[in-house]
Amino acid sequence: MSSVRGKVLVIGGGIAGIQASLDLAEAGFKVYLVEKKPSIGGRMAQLDKTFPTLDCASCILTPKMAEVPRKANIELITYAEVIDIVKEKDGFRVVVKKYPKYIDETKCIGCGICVERCPAREKLGAPDEFNEGLSTRRAVCILFPQAVPRKAVIDPNICLYLTRKTCKVCEKFCPAQAIDWSDTEKILNLYVDAIVVATGYRFVDPRHPALSIYGYGKYQNVYTNIEFERILDSRGPTGGEILRRSDKKHPKRIVFIQCVGSRDYRINPYCSAYCCMASIKQAVLAKEHEPGVDIVILYMDIRAFGKGFQEFYERAVKEFGIRFVRGRPAKIVEDPNTKNLIVYYENTLKGTIEKIEADMVVLALGIVPNPPDFMKRLGLVEPDGRVKIKDPSDPIATPVEGLFIAGMLAGPKDIPDSVAQGSAVAMRVMQHILRRKVEVVAT
C-alpha cells in the first residue's frame, strides 16, 4: 500500500493487539504498537498449549509475532507505556513514556552473549516475570527465546554497573557494541486518528484474605494456574517437568480448584470464562507428562461453551480419566512433614463431605480487566473494574469517539474471541477514520 490511509495507536501487544495491528497494517494504515514489556506476545506467549486443540501456543503465536516487525506500516515501541492521551480536533495526541533499555536496539543482534556473561545471577538476579517468578533472570535479559523484538534489556535495579558502578561485563562481550549506559527515559508524542486499547487482564491476587483458605503463599505446593502453565512448558523453569516446589518430586495427585476469585461477591462477581477449559487442558497435559498422575478438578459449573470445548471436556473424562467433582473447598490443610495438602470439600453431587490428600493444588485464578491509568483518569472504568462501553450491544467502542478496546480488556474471553475482537476493532477503526475521508465509490 503506497499512501498511508490513517494513523492508529494500538496499546498492548497481546494477541488481540497484534491481530488488530496486523489487520490495520494490511489494510494500509500506519500503526504504532506500544507494549509495556520488552517483547510483544502478551499472556499467550506464556502458555504451553492451547485448548481444545492442544496446539502449542508458541507454534501458532510466534509466526504472528514475527509478522509484526516485517510490516513496514507497523512501528513497534516496546518497553514503553502510554501515560496520557489528549483529544484533539480529529484525533489524539498521545504521550508515551519509553523506559531506558541501556541497549541500542538498532545495534543489538539478540545473540544473547551478554545474558550468558551477566554475573548478576542467582542471588544477585531477579525473579523472572515470564516464568511467574518461578526462576530467576539476570540483570540483562531477553524476555523469552522467541521474543519479538529479540533484543536484550538491562534491568537498572539489579545491574551491578548501574547500581554499584562495577562490572560492565556485558559491554566487554557484546559483539555489536550495543550497550549504551547513557540511555535514559524518553517521552514521545504521537499524533493518531484513533486508539485501540488492548491491555488485557490481570489475575486476582491469590493472597486476597477471602482466598486465604487455599493457603497460597503459605503452603509451598499450592500453585496458581499460570504458574502451573509455566511448569508444563518445555521452555519453563523446570524444562517441562512437573516438580513440586517443596521437594522437587513428581506429584502423584494433583487437585485443580475452579472459580478461585471468580463468581465470588467478595472479590470478583463475574465468571472468568477461560479457567474451566484452561484447567481441563492443564489436567490433560499433566496426564501426558505424568501418565500415572491422579487428577481431580473441583468445579462449580464446567463452562465448556466454545467450539469443540464440550467434546474436549468429555474426552478428558473418558480418555484421560480425569475426575471432575462438583464442590468448592472451604479449607486446605498442609501436612507439615510431607508438605502434602489435604483438601476438604463437599461433593455436592454425592452429598458427602470428602477430603483428598494431594501433592499439588492448582488454583484456577479469576481475572479482571487491566485498563491503563489514563482510562481510569478519563472515568472510563466502572467501579467493578469493567471498562465503560457506549452501547451494550457493542462491547468494543468506548464513549470516547475514536477510542476502542479489544481482547480481555473488553471482558473475559478465550483466544479465538480475542483474535476476532482484534480484527473487529481494526474494522471499527478503519471506519472511524475512513468515514470522514473516503467518499464512497458507487457502482
Binding site: 489487520d23 508458541s58 503465536l61
Partner: protein
C-alpha cells in the same frame, strides 16, 4: 536451473518437547545429512520462531542452498511462514518443502524408536521430492474491490455495513425474503434492553441509504468459481410475486384462503400464503410463498396497486467480487414430537417460541398467557438438542442458551411477580459478564435444579408434571407446571449444505463450518479470500456475531485494500511439445479452465491460469504426461514415492 548442482538444507524442529520429546532429533539430523544432495542438516528448538527462520536465511547465503526442507509441524500451519523466510533470503519460495513429523509422527506415536524411524522416512521422501522441485512464479491477480456477503443475519449485515462504510462495494444475498435472520425475532438481547428488530433496522436503514451496496433477498448463490481477488458468482433471485408497487394495504392477506404456521414466529402464530414476514421486515413488501400458494388469484384481484404478478419468473445475475463472507448462521434445534412432551400440549414450548410470546410486538403483545390464564409455575429445561441430550442432538454446547434462558426468565419475573420459576439444567454456562444474569436470576428467586438423567414431562390432559432427579440432593421432585419451556439450542443452518456445495469450505461433523485455524484464524475459511462470520462456525450470541461480522469484514478489507494479490502457482500447465491434443483433460476439469489452442497447426490443450484451481485431476488423467500440476509434477510425486522404502 537444470545444470546447477542441487544443494539441500534440512532443518529439524524440536517444537519444544512436542517433537524432541518422542523423536530423537539428533539422530534424525545425523541421518538427514547422509542423504544425497543434503549439504547441511540442523535442528533448533523452534524453527518457526524469528531466530529459527534467521538460521535458515543465514545458511542459504552461507552454503548457497537452492533447496530447503523443514521437518516440523503440518504444512497447513507453517508452510507459508517458511516460504516467506526462504523468499526473504532471495530463494524462490517454491524450492521449499515441508515434512510433517509432529502431527503425523511425534504426536501420534509414543514409541521413541519407531517415531524416529518414521521421521527419517518422511524426511527422506520429502528430500527426494525437493530434489525435483522447480522455481515457480506466483500468479498475480487484480483484486476486484467488491465483496459478497452471503446471509443477511446480524453477522452478515454488520459485515456488509462495515465494508460498505469502508468504501467497498458489497453484494448482500439473503435466502429468505427478509433481512435480519433470527436476531430480528429476539425481543430483548441479554436482558440489555436492546431489541433485536431495532438493532437490525438500524443497520438496514443505514445500509439501504448507501449507494455502494446491493441487496438480494429471496435469493441464493448458485455457482461460484475463481479465487481470492476475483470470484465469479452467479446469484438466483427467486420471485416474490409482489413488486415495489406494494403499499402494504394488506387487502391481499384478507382474501388469501391459505393459512399456515408462521416460521417467523417459530410456529406460535400463523400467516397466509401471501404475507409480510413481520412489521419491521425489510424489504417492506408482501411476498407469496410458492410452496403453499394455490394460485387462486384472489390477491391479484383485490390488490389496488396491481403489485402482484403470479407469473413472475426467477432471474439470474452474475457478479464478480474479490472476497466472500459466509454468514449463513444457524437454525434453532426443533425438538421431536413427544421429546419432553413437545407437541403433546400447548403448555410445552421452545425458548424461541417463548421469546416471541414475551415480545411486546409479538403475536400476544408480550403478555404471557397460556390459554387465558397466567402461568404460575414455569419450568425451563435446558440443553434440549445440545450436549447429546437426544439422539438427534449434537454433542456440543450451544453456548448462548443459558444466558438467553435466564434473560427470558427474568423478563417473566418482571411481568408476573407471582410466578415461580424452576430452571432444570446441566451446567449453567453464563460465562464472562453474563454471570450477572445468573446471580440476578438467583436474587429474583429463580430456582435451579441440576439434572443428569433427562427429566420426564408427563402430560395428562391439561395437567403437566415434570419429574426430575436433582443430583445436588439426590431426590426426585415433581413440579406441577403451568408452562414448560424447552431451551433448544442452535443447530446447523437448514440451507448450509446447499451453500457449501457452491462455496467450497469444509464442514465439521457437528454441522458448523471449519475455520482455517480454530484458535488464531477464527473468521478465515481454509480457502483464501473466503471469510466466516457469526454462527456459521458455531453457536454464538448476537453480540459475538456482531463482533464476528466486523472481524470478517476486517479480514476481507485487508484483501480488498490491495490492488492485487498473489495466488499459489500450483496450477496445471501443459507441455506443448508433449501434448497430443487428445483433450482427455478437458472433460476432467471441474472449472472449465482447459480450452484448446492452435500451435503450428496442432490443436492442443491450454490451461487458463486464472480459472485453474490446481486440483491436478487433469494431470492424473493425461496419458502423455504433458499435463502437469506445478508443485505436484509426476516426477516430484513419483520421486517421493520411490524414496518410500530406501
Amino acid at each position: 536451473m537444470s545444470g546447477e548442482e542441487i544443494r539441500i538444507g534440512v532443518y529439524v524442529c524440536h517444537c519444544g518437547t512436542n517433537i524432541a520429546g518422542t523423536v530423537d532429533v539428533e539422530e534424525v539430523v545425523r541421518y538427514a545429512s547422509t542423504l544425497p544432495n543434503v549439504v547441511i542438516a540442523r535442528n533448533y528448538v523452534f524453527m518457526c520462531s524469528e531466530p529459527g527462520q534467521q538460521l535458515i536465511k543465514e545458511d542459504i547465503k552461507k552454503y548457497n542452498l537452492n533447496r530447503v526442507v523443514v521437518a516440523a509441524c503440518s504444512p497447513s500451519l507453517h508452510e507459508l511462514t517458511f516460504r516467506n523466510a526462504v523468499k526473504e533470503a532471495g530463494l524462490n519460495p517454491y524450492l521449499f518443502e515441508m515434512a510433517n513429523i509432529r502431527e503425523h509422527c511425534s504426536w501420534a506415536h509414543p514409541d521413541r524408536r519407531k517415531a524416529t524411524e518414521k521421521a527419517k522416512d518422511l524426511i527422506r521422501m520429502v528430500v527426494a521430492k525437493a530434489r525435483e522441485l522447480e522455481p515457480l512464479e506466483e500468479i498475480k491477480i487484480d483484486v476486484t474491490k467488491k465483496a459478497l456477503v452471503i446471509g443477511g443475519g446480524v453477522a452478515g449485515l454488520r459485515a456488509a455495513l462495515d465494508l460498505a462504510r469502508s468504501g467497498f462495494t458489497v453484494y448482500l444475498v439473503e435466502k429468505r425474503p427478509t433481512l435480519g435472520g433470527h436476531t430480528a425475532r429476539i425481543p430483548f438481547i441479554r436482558y440489555l434492553g436492546v431489541r433485536g428488530d431495532e438493532l437490525i433496522s438500524s443497520i438496514v436503514k443505514e445500509l439501504v441509504s448507501m449507494p455502494n451496496i446491493k441487496i438480494y433477498t429471496n435469493a441464493d448463490v448458485v455457482s461460484m468459481e475463481g479465487g481470492v481477488g476475483s470470484f465469479r458468482v452467479r446469484i438466483r433471485v427467486r420471485p416474490k410475486y409482489v413488486d415495489s408497487k406494494c403499499n402494504l394495504c394488506g387487502e391481499c392477506v384478507k382474501v388469501c384462503p391459505v393459512e399456515v404456521s408462521n416460521e417467523y414466529e417459530y410456529g406460535v402464530g400463523t400467516r397466509k400464503a401471501i404475507y409480510l414476514p413481520y412489521q419491521t421486515a425489510y424489504p417492506q413488501i408482501y411476498v407469496i410463498d410458492p410452496e403453499v400458494c394455490t394460485r387462486c388469484g384472489e390477491c391479484v384481484k383485490v390488490c389496488p396497486t396491481k403489485a402482484i404478478d403470479l407469473d413472475e419468473k426467477e432471474r439470474y445475475e452474475d457478479i464478480e467480487v474479490g472476497t466472500v463472507i459466509l454468514a449463513t448462521g444457524y437454525d434453532p434445534y426443533e425438538p421431536e414430537k413427544g421429546e419432553l412432551g413437545y407437541g403433546l400440549s400447548k403448555k410445552v414450548i421452545t425458548l424461541f417460541q417463548l421469546e416471541r410470546l414475551l415480545d411486546e410486538r409479538g403475536p400476544t403483545k408480550g403478555v404471557l398467557r397460556i390459554g387465558d390464564t397466567e402461568p404460575r409455575v414455569i419450568v425451563f429445561i435446558s440443553c434440549v438438542g445440545s450436549m447429546g441430550t437426544s439422539p438427534k442432538a449434537g454433542s456440543y454446547c450451544s453456548r448462548m442458551c443459558c444466558s438467553t434462558m435466564l434473560s427470558a426468565a427474568l423478563k417473566i419475573r418482571d411481568q408476573l411477580p407471582g410466578s415461580y420459576i424452576y430452571v432444570i439444567h446441566k451446567d449453567i454456562r453464563t460465562y464472562g459478564y453474563d454471570e450477572e444474569l445468573y446471580w440476578k436470576a438467583l436474587e429474583r428467586d429463580i430456582r435451579f435444579v441440576r439434572y443428569e438423567e433427562l427429566p420426564e414431562v408427563k402430560v395428562s390432559g391439561d395437567k403437566i408434571e415434570v419429574v426430575v432427579k436433582d443430583i445436588t440432593i439426590g431426590e426426585y421432585i415433581s413440579v406441577p407446571a403451568d408452562l414448560v419451556v424447552l431451551v433448544n439450542g442452535m443447530a446447523q443452518g437448514k440451507y448450509l449444505r446447499e451453500v457449501l456445495n457452491v462455496v467450497r469450505v469444509s464442514c465439521g461433523d457437528e454441522g458448523f463450518v471449519k475455520e482455517a485455524h480454530v484458535k488464531l484464524r477464527p473468521v478465515d475459511a481454509a480457502s483464501e479470500g473466503i471469510y466466516l462470520a457469526g454462527s456459521v462456525t458455531g453457536p454464538k450470541s448476537v453480540i459475538e456475531s456482531i463482533i464476528h461480522g466486523s472481524a470478517a469484514a476486517a479480514r476481507a478489507a485487508t484483501v480488498l485494500s490491495k490492488d492485487h494479490v498473489f495466488a499459489e502457482p500450483i496450477i496445471a500447465k501443459v507441455d506443448e511439445d508433449l501434448c497430443s491434443g487428445c483433450l482427455v483433460c478437458v472433460g476432467m476439469c471441474p472449472y472449465n479452465a482447459i480450452s484448446t489452442k492452435e500451435t503450428d497447426g496442432r490443436r492442443i490443450a491450454f490451461v487458463n491460469p486464472v480459472l485453474c484451481m490446481g486440483c491436478g485431476t487433469c494431470a492424473a488423467a493425461c496419458p502423455s504426461g504433458a499435463m502437469q500440476q506445478q508443485g505436484f509434477k509426476d516426477k516430484q510425486v513419483f520421486a517421493q514415492i520411490r524414496a518410500f522404502a530406501r
